[in-house]
Symmetry: C2
DNA sequence: TTCACTTTTTGCCAAATGGCAAATGGTTTC
DNA sequence: GAAACCATTTGCCATTTGGCAAAAAGTGAA
């Protein structure tokens, strides 16, 4: 639970208010934190493990839109904010340890912790900018560059995630990725 | 200036406070709203015209990361929030009419308008989600699909932006895009 | 209209990637 | 260890896309 201590800008008392609402939980490999069609009612903090966001494209193929490693907050933002059904899934890629906040509690912090909204805004902006900065360069790169870029960005994840997930994240076929990996090494 | 009236959640008085700080301005085609290396000190609202965000990749090539049409707020978020030099450019693709807020004024609204932070959070989340939802599907699509997807998403922009900008946005070469366009029509 | 300049299209060929199916390798369960 | 199951690699070939340079089309100024 002290993995959340890196959470800046909060003093001891505020941190106490936050932790009061935190519930520890686990997700085993393959299990879902949120699912398409359901409404997101929880915010998670990943203290151990790897999760991925994915959705089904028009052809019904799974497309991984993001990987996330330890020490990050996550939520299906659109569904959570607007209380509409999710269009995608959040799934544990490995066994995970989580800290979970209910929607009611999370939003309640807005009134109990001074400046909470601004803090949340910072967390969200930072997370989304990170994602955008990671995806943008992929688009204009060829498959090999995509893979090497990924290796540089996520050294931690290499060999901890199935090839098929990674391929769909990079926008390449699994076989191409396999060949590229062979060529690189 | 009433193009901002679509701005939800504000009553008349709050809207007044906001408009007090607004300054009208223009950008002519090709001019920059913010530039790499400089620190963003303004938030803009695009009332007429088209802008694009772009940066230089490792090979020095211009890469368009986003197009934006009328009736949207824009800012170089990372630079503005953290007062660090921008890594990219915001440029007028056509002649533009803008409404501009200085950083001081914009942030001051946090104390004068009740719930301002939350409103800003909503705007930012919405904008970034939109961008993410637009870019994500491009990655796993072939060039033709990228183009047709773009046409569906931005019918307004077709034929108002140079081919080279669009090609770099879609992650295809200009000649490929030209051939695809020919094939489609 | 003509010239100079920029943008877009086209031709030619090489290189990269995809599609599909079979083979190989790994892991789990009994 | 054997069987069943899942993940990864490989072969073969068709298709797509890129690279480069020249041609064509479009634009604006004198």
């Amino acid at each position: 639970m002290d993995s959340m201590s890196q959470f800046g800008s909060l003093d001891k008392q505020q941190m106490g208010l936050l932790l009061e609402k935190a519930k520890e939980s686990t997700l085993s490999k393959g299990a879902y934190f949120s699912e398409a069609g359901k409404i997101a009612r929880q915010v998670g903090f990943l203290s151990a493990g790897i999760i991925r966001f994915f959705y089904h494209d028009d052809n019904g193929q799974e497309v991984t839109s993001y990987f996330m490693a330890e020490r990050n907050f996550f939520v299906d933002l659109n569904s959570f904010n607007n209380q509409v059904p999710s269009s995608g899934y959040i799934q544990a890629v490995t066994d995970c340890k989580l800290i979970v906040f209910s929607q009611r509690d999370w939003q309640g912090l807005s009134t109990t912790i001074d400046g909470w909204d601004k803090i949340v805004q910072q967390i969200i902006s930072k997370a989304m900018l990170e994602k955008i900065d990671k995806i943008n360069p992929l688009l204009s790169a060829d498959a090999t560059t995509r893979y090497t870029t990924f290796l540089a960005q996520y050294p931690i994840l290499t060999n901890r995630i199935p090839l098929s997930y990674l391929a769909s994240y990079l926008g390449i076929t699994q076989s191409s990725l396999s060949r590229i990996r062979k060529k690189i090494r």
